[in-house]
């Protein structure tokens, strides 16, 4: 199962990944059109800094996912085959339980569209869009390490 890893030494905090992520998840898929959409597409990834280092934060698709436990609408489910937490927007009622329990605060509420914003690993594409967007190659897409 492929997961996202980050080489922190290489991350400049330029937010190219955030922008690419927003555009990729917009309705139009294009920057200038995306800016005018009814629901502004929010990035599934956020760069945060601590002690002068930059850390991309996004959903880790935990196996013992707290968000799945907390989801009282069964909209979040851990898919063992795909190795990811999948989300059914038709079931979600926007209660934000998932936001409350995410141990990384990697889920944010989109208050306008009532959708929890979280990384879906760009499931319809060959690989997450943030990988190519990163100018320094800090984002790594590789098989899950065995110790996890």
């Amino acid at each position: 199962m492929k997961q996202l890893y980050y080489d922190i030494k290489k991350c400049l905090g330029c937010k190219s990944c955030e922008i690419a992520c927003s555009i990729a998840h917009s309705a139009s898929g294009e920057l200038f059109k995306a800016l005018r959409e009814e629901f502004l597409s929010l990035p599934r990834k956020k760069i945060l800094s601590s002690n002068n280092k930059n850390y991309p934060i996004s959903c880790r698709h935990c196996k013992d996912a707290k968000c799945v436990d907390a989801c009282m609408a069964a909209a979040l489910v851990y898919d063992k085959e795909k190795g990811m937490v999948i989300y059914d927007d038709k079931r979600c009622i926007g209660c934000w339980m998932c936001v409350m329990v995410c141990p990384y605060s990697a889920i944010r509420p989109d208050k306008k569209s009532k959708v929890p914003v979280r990384c879906d690993k760009c499931k319809d594409k060959d690989q997450p869009i943030c990988i190519k967007a990163c100018p320094t190659g800090a984002i790594i897409w590789q098989e899950e390490s065995v110790n996890k």
């Binding site: 997961q3 996202l4 890893y5 980050y6 080489d7 922190i8 956020k46 945060l48 800094s49 601590s50 002690n51 280092k53 850390y55 934060i57 880790r60 707290k66 436990d69 907390a70 009282m72 609408a73 069964a74 038709k90 079931r91 009622i93 926007g94 209660c95 934000w96 339980m97 936001v99 409350m100 329990v101 995410c102 141990p103 990384y104 605060s105 990697a106 889920i107 944010r108 509420p109 208050k111 790594i140 390490s145 110790n147 996890k148």
Partner: protein, 421 residues
């Protein structure tokens, strides 16, 4: 081959049978429920009543769940008695079921205050899908309703009724909405939002009597003497654990069934999880009933795994609520209002223009509670700081800042960091 019996078919019961099946593919599992329906999302009944979701979206597991997992489901069966000496449960219809390992996940029931007229037709609790359906059935002939109690259940019922164009008054004995969940500041933001959306909130008043005529509700009389004309009453005065079935047994019970750090009761082959269980609350440092969906799932899963021979430790419960009314998200964690404020420290911010309020409660530089309204980002981190008992002095100033995040606590959490290389 063992026989597992699980009483209750909601969050804790389902999580338990999933965990049992994962560890034990062979043994017999029987789930007993006194309700009419296959598993459903109990917390969604207000959205169903409001018309936000259809009945098929309220199911919690697919139709074939029980068959696929080889689970026997007995619906409409009420367990009236547990007999730990003979390892069996007795149903209302006198039938019996033996077990090797038993989970009591019977949940809780709506509390009805002792009040003249409370037993009349047209007075409802708001706990089950049946409640929601019964209320929905009456709505074509209802113009105005009142909700007794300003807790989460009461307010969710009020929201649903308002959404169906019913005039709603919420009558609250205390001086604020959600007094069991929020402090006054956050409660006032929620109340404002409710009132802006047409829900009338009456504080500091209680209902003295429900007045009916020829079987139909006509009014409620407040203790001030004033009468309000309504034709439907929903009672949201809290819930109490369903513990009747263990009366006169050796199973230790207080408000709920005492469930230890293995989710075991005082009888070793009987477990208790979910809203019926009284577990150790890590923020109160005492046993307490925390009837909350995420906790029920967690407890059910651990209880199930342990019933099937595992040895998982339950680290304890705490209050945690996430609610949203008319676009105002609100989260409450742990000790949001300590009984005795001495020794506690508060960090707070209020931005009235954007309707954002945040308060953190600390003791000796450990986070013990939080209230967030309007902006609930980072609530998961606050919950983690409370649960993992992480000392915050090195980043205390940053806690309520926009740029606070996981990197600030990364080196202090229990799990080893995996994704940063």
């Amino acid at each position: 081959m063992k026989q597992y019996v699980v009483i209750g078919n909601s969050a804790a019961g389902i999580a338990a049978v999933e965990a049992i099946r994962q560890a034990d593919k062979e043994s017999k599992i029987t789930v007993v429920s006194d309700e009419d329906y296959s598993s459903y999302c109990r917390c969604l009944i207000s959205y169903y009543l409001a018309g936000d979701i259809k009945e098929e979206k309220i199911s919690y597991r697919p139709q074939n769940f029980y068959k696929e997992n080889n689970i026997e489901l007995l619906l409409n069966k009420k367990v009236t008695r547990v007999d730990p000496k003979k390892n069996r449960v007795v149903m209302a219809d006198k039938s019996q079921l033996g077990y090797d390992s038993l989970l009591i996940a019977t949940g809780a029931s709506s509390k009805f205050p002792e009040l003249k007229g409370i037993k009349k037709e047209g007075v409802f609790g708001f706990r089950t899908l049946k409640d929601a359906k019964d209320i929905a059935g009456l709505l074509p002939v209802v113009k105005s309703a009142c909700v007794l109690g300003g807790g989460l259940i009461g307010l969710k019922a009020a929201y649903a009724l308002k959404k169906r164009n019913i005039d709603v008054k919420v009558i609250i004995k205390s001086g604020q909405v959600l007094s069991q969940v929020l402090d006054l500041e956050a409660a006032q933001l929620v109340q404002k939002r409710l009132e802006e959306n047409g829900i009338e909130v009456i504080l500091g008043q209680d209902v003295a009597e429900i007045i009916s005529d020829e079987g139909e509700i006509k009014a409620v009389k407040l203790d001030s003497g004033k009468a309000l004309g309504v034709s439907l009453v929903v009672v949201g005065k809290g819930v109490s654990p369903n513990i009747d079935l263990i009366k006169d047994t050796a199973i230790k019970v207080n408000e709920g069934i005492i469930s230890n750090n293995n989710l075991q009761t005082s009888v070793p082959n009987i477990y208790a999880a979910g809203d019926v269980a009284e577990t150790f609350d890590i923020t109160l440092s005492e046993f307490s009933v925390n009837a909350l969906w995420p906790l029920a799932v967690e407890q059910g899963r651990i209880a199930g795994a342990n019933m099937a021979g595992g040895n998982l430790n339950y680290e304890g419960s705490l209050g945690m609520n996430s609610l949203e009314f008319f676009g105002l998200p609100t989260v409450s964690l742990g000790l949001f209002r300590p009984k005795n404020p001495e020794g506690f420290e508060e960090i707070r911010m209020m931005d009235e223009n954007s309707q954002i309020y945040k308060k953190l409660i600390l003791k000796n530089n450990f986070l013990v509670g939080a209230v967030l309204a309007g902006n609930i980002n980072n609530s998961g981190l606050f919950l983690r700081l409370i649960r993992e008992k992480i000392e915050v002095s090195s980043f205390k100033e940053k806690l309520l800042q926009e740029n606070f995040g996981y990197p600030d606590i990364m080196g202090l959490v229990k799990d080893k960091e995996q994704v940063y290389v």
